[in-house]
């Protein structure tokens, strides 16, 4: 099938392009890209082609998620490869990196091949595999990493488990360096987090919940950076959540150590106040005092009436102790959120990763601390990230880069791009489409999200994988004959519409 995506706002961070134009897709690849600012654009395609009108929407390379939990094999009641990849397509992701936290773990070439095969048959999007660092993710004996790599694993991680023994971690890093693949570290010193329920701070103290101190993450990040320096390996820090963690990574990068990092959309937008739920109404924010004039970048006010900007989301829609807010690492303080944003802006953090962790009601409808951690986050990732764009916290092109180019660079890949000849993995999203999060509408089996009932602004309209439509919202893009006001640029667009 051939498709012509017309008049979209094309953003291709890998080529530093942001323009209005048309994209022709043939044989699963980007065949041509017409920049409408360029007047020499007579080469309209002829023959049978489906025209998709993307006027007003952003057209970008498909998003890559470095950190997804599939649930299959072994925990199909939480998620299946089919449901996870459909959720991914709805979220604009065309590639998922599946964490090996399955039953059994992806710790042998056999399991890896099995999962790849299911994903090939039933996956709506591409699935890449991350192999376990240690057998059974137990932190003791290394897996056959070379065989895992031969079976298609693109990185190694014990996914949700820390390799506690530093000697084992050192060996894992050395070995992975031989294969030139990254080790993705879940950084948590579990001796400091025993019995944890939430982030340790003001709110855990008030609520009487056992805390997960920031330092439990930071000591492990520091250790893993030191071991990466020792071995020359590539360490990737998963879901960094603390200000101290960002500082350690920034410092390591300055020293030239091969370290990359990811952050989740929810750690960038939600804080531990969410555990207070409706009690947050009566509690003043705990964030830092505003910086003196001129010192900080200007940003949109939190809720400017009339602009239709999404305000900060409203934690008071939840009851106190709502287990949908329980996640590992926990939602951190507002100071941490600020530091994560700063890390994203200055390049310390390379990629956005969803840490999509579907859980069933059985795991969540229990006492707070006993609830399984995790947020089902593939389908809300873009909306959360765009809330940062709408509030002028980050730039739209940068956001797309952190969802495409950034994760690709972590995996040492050719960056996802819309260059002619590239595989047509494409997302089309509307930055202004407002919608209410209703977990019942999720494609994911995991309905566990603290965002139920919140308004998000920005929605995926279409996702294309290898030149085929994996998800399309309603009749998006059908019909091109709308009347439009003329302007200089519009005149050019209308000319292009005549065929």
């Amino acid at each position: 099938m051939r498709y012509l995506i017309k008049n979209g706002n094309i953003i291709d961070p890998a080529r530093r392009i942001a323009t209005v134009g048309n994209i022709l897709i043939e044989d699963g690849k980007v065949s041509q890209l017409f920049d409408l600012a360029d007047l020499n654009m007579t080469a309209e395609p002829t023959g049978e082609v489906e025209v998709i009108n993307a006027r007003g929407s952003i057209v970008a390379p498909g998003f890559i998620d470095l950190h997804t939990y599939l649930g299959e094999p072994g925990e199909e009641h939480r998620e299946t490869i089919e449901s996870a990849t459909q959720a991914a397509a709805r979220g604009g992701f065309t590639t998922l990196c599946a964490m090996p936290a399955t039953q059994p773990a992806i710790d042998s070439a056999g399991t890896a091949r099995y999962v790849r095969e299911i994903a090939r048959q039933r996956g709506a999007v591409r699935v890449d595999l991350i192999g376990a660092i240690t057998q059974g993710r137990s932190g003791e004996r290394l897996t056959e990493m070379a065989e895992l790599a031969e079976a298609g694993c693109v990185a190694f991680s014990d996914a949700g488990h820390t390799v506690s023994d530093p000697a084992v971690m050192r060996n894992a890093l050395s070995y992975a360096a031989m294969l030139n693949l990254p080790v993705m570290a879940h950084c948590e010193d579990t001796r400091l987090t025993k019995g944890w329920a939430m982030h340790e701070g003001t709110i855990s103290t008030r609520l009487g919940l056992q805390g997960y101190p920031s330092s439990a993450e930071e000591v492990m990040i520091a250790r893993d950076i030191a071991l990466a320096e020792l071995t020359g390996a590539h360490i990737h820090i998963c879901h960094v959540s603390t200000a101290g963690g960002v500082a350690l990574i920034r410092n390591a990068k300055e020293r030239g150590i091969r370290v990359t990092a990811e952050v989740t959309p929810y750690h960038l937008t939600l804080s531990d106040r969410w555990v207070l739920g409706s009690l947050a109404q009566s509690t003043p924010p705990t964030g830092p005092a505003p910086a003196p004039e001129g010192k900080k970048r200007k940003r949109a006010k939190k809720s400017e009436p009339g602009l239709g900007l999404p305000s900060w989301f409203d934690p008071t829609l939840l009851p106190p102790y709502d287990s949908s807010t329980r996640v590992n690492p926990p939602l951190r303080s507002e100071e941490d959120v600020e530091a994560l944003l700063e890390g994203l802006r200055d390049g310390t953090i390379d990629a956005i990763a969803t840490n999509h962790m579907p859980q069933s009601m059985v795991e969540k409808d229990v006492e707070y601390r006993l609830a399984a951690p995790g947020i089902s986050s593939l389908e809300t990732a873009l909306g959360l990230m765009l809330s940062l764009v709408h509030r002028a916290e980050i730039d739209l092109v940068d956001m797309v880069a952190k969802l495409t180019e950034g994760p690709a660079s972590v995996l040492d890949r050719t960056p996802a791009t819309l260059r002619p000849g590239a595989v047509a993995d494409i997302v089309i999203f509307d930055t202004d489409q407002t919608w209410m999060v209703d977990p019942k509408d999720f494609a994911s089996k995991g309905r566990n999200t603290p965002l139920a009932g919140q308004q998000l602004k920005g929605q995926v309209m279409m996702t294309m994988v290898g030149g085929e439509i994996a998800f399309r919202r309603g009749n998006f893009g059908v019909g091109t004959g709308m009347l439009r006001q003329a302007s200089k640029l519009e005149g050019i667009l209308d000319d292009a519409d005549k065929d």
């Binding site: 329920a197 340790e200 701070g201 003001t202 855990s204 103290t205 008030r206 609520l207 009487g208 919940l209 056992q210 805390g211 009690l279 009566s282 509690t283 705990t286 009851p319 106190p320 102790y321 287990s323 059985v362 409808d365 229990v366 006492e367 707070y368 601390r369 006993l370």
Partner: protein
């Protein structure tokens, strides 16, 4: 045709009835004062030879205790019976919970059996909030994890008010394992709302960073020096030290804890002349409190126990009384 000059007078709006008692954070000072007033009349009932009124006749009160506490359970049972409610008590030991039934399941069963009020004790902070989302009746928190113990907080306030005739302006020292104490948290809400000056005194390992406390209760004073804290205090409230804290490495030894943080006669001598000593019980005499202090004329520990029944009656009445 309606007659002229008739105006409809709306019925006076009754104050919305409180549905649950989960913590004291959502009580205003006025509501606390009201509860203390009701408590006084309930205490009068307890002083009669027939200690029963029909206020809750026909209501079903279920004591759902997922954590052992014979004293608190008996106190709640007596309170409900004194109001003529039907009372059943269940404890997690040997119950469906041990068979792996979820809290939600247990609650649904109790609801189907006709429970009007669930009095709940649970080792997990926030568990009563979870039930309150789903239960059609009222939840009365009898202590959840290290979070809240609102009836203990109110009985402490009642005991102080009974003794001094006021709470405002009194200097109150809470000493001991603040970090793990639900009593301390509920007392903090209650005492600060009623205008007491509160000092928290604990070793840093049983407190955590002071900024975490000051963010919620900005007017309290925090120290690890008991001798300074106790000087001139009107109320000295000590908390039970669980001996497991030493195993967990939070204390070098009970001996050292006793030396630094126990309430001794010598220390009480530094407090205000009319000062009282309080303890939520059960006591580790010789650890956090010396036996001679516990039985001294300054001790109101037994009065606290009596007042506990009256406070629980007052709250049950507010939740389920006609």
């Amino acid at each position: 045709m309606p007659a002229k000059n008739t105006t409809t007078v709306p019925a006076p709006e009754a104050a919305p009835r409180r549905r649950h008692v989960l913590d004291l954070d959502d009580f205003s000072a006025a509501e606390i004062a009201e509860v203390l007033e009701t408590t006084a009349s309930m205490k009068e009932v307890l002083g009669r030879s027939i200690k029963q009124v029909p206020a809750l006749r026909g209501k079903n009160v279920v004591n759902m205790f997922f954590e052992d506490s014979t004293r608190t359970r008996i106190s709640f049972e007596l309170a409900a019976r004194s109001l003529s409610a039907n009372v059943v008590s269940m404890s997690a030991k040997g119950s469906s919970v041990e068979k792996g039934e979820s809290l939600m399941d247990t609650m649904r069963t109790l609801q189907a059996l006709g429970a009007d009020v669930i009095v709940m004790r649970h080792s997990e902070a926030g568990a009563p909030y979870f039930l309150a989302q789903h239960f059609h009746g009222s939840i009365l928190n009898a202590g959840d994890g290290r979070h809240a113990h609102p009836t203990q907080g109110l009985l402490d306030l009642f005991t102080i008010q009974e003794r001094f005739g006021r709470i405002e302006g009194l200097k109150v020292v809470i000493v001991g394992d603040i970090l793990h104490s639900r009593v301390a948290r509920s007392d903090l809400w209650g005492l600060t709302k009623m205008g007491a000056q509160v000092t928290l005194c604990a070793p840093p390992t049983l407190l955590g960073p002071t900024a975490f406390w000051l963010a919620t209760w900005p007017d309290v004073t925090i120290t690890s020096n008991l001798d300074e804290a106790i000087a001139g205090a009107d109320v000295v409230m000590t908390l039970r030290l669980q001996k497991e804290r030493q195993q967990a490495g939070l204390l070098p030894s009970l001996r050292e804890y006793n030396r630094l943080f126990a309430i001794t006669p010598e220390r009480m001598a530094k407090a205000a002349p009319e000062a009282i000593v309080m303890h939520p019980g059960p006591m580790n005499e010789g650890v956090e409190i010396m036996p001679e202090v516990a039985v001294s004329s300054q001790s109101v520990i037994e009065t606290q126990v009596t007042n506990g029944v009256a406070v629980r009656m007052a709250l049950l009445y507010r939740l389920a009384g006609e």
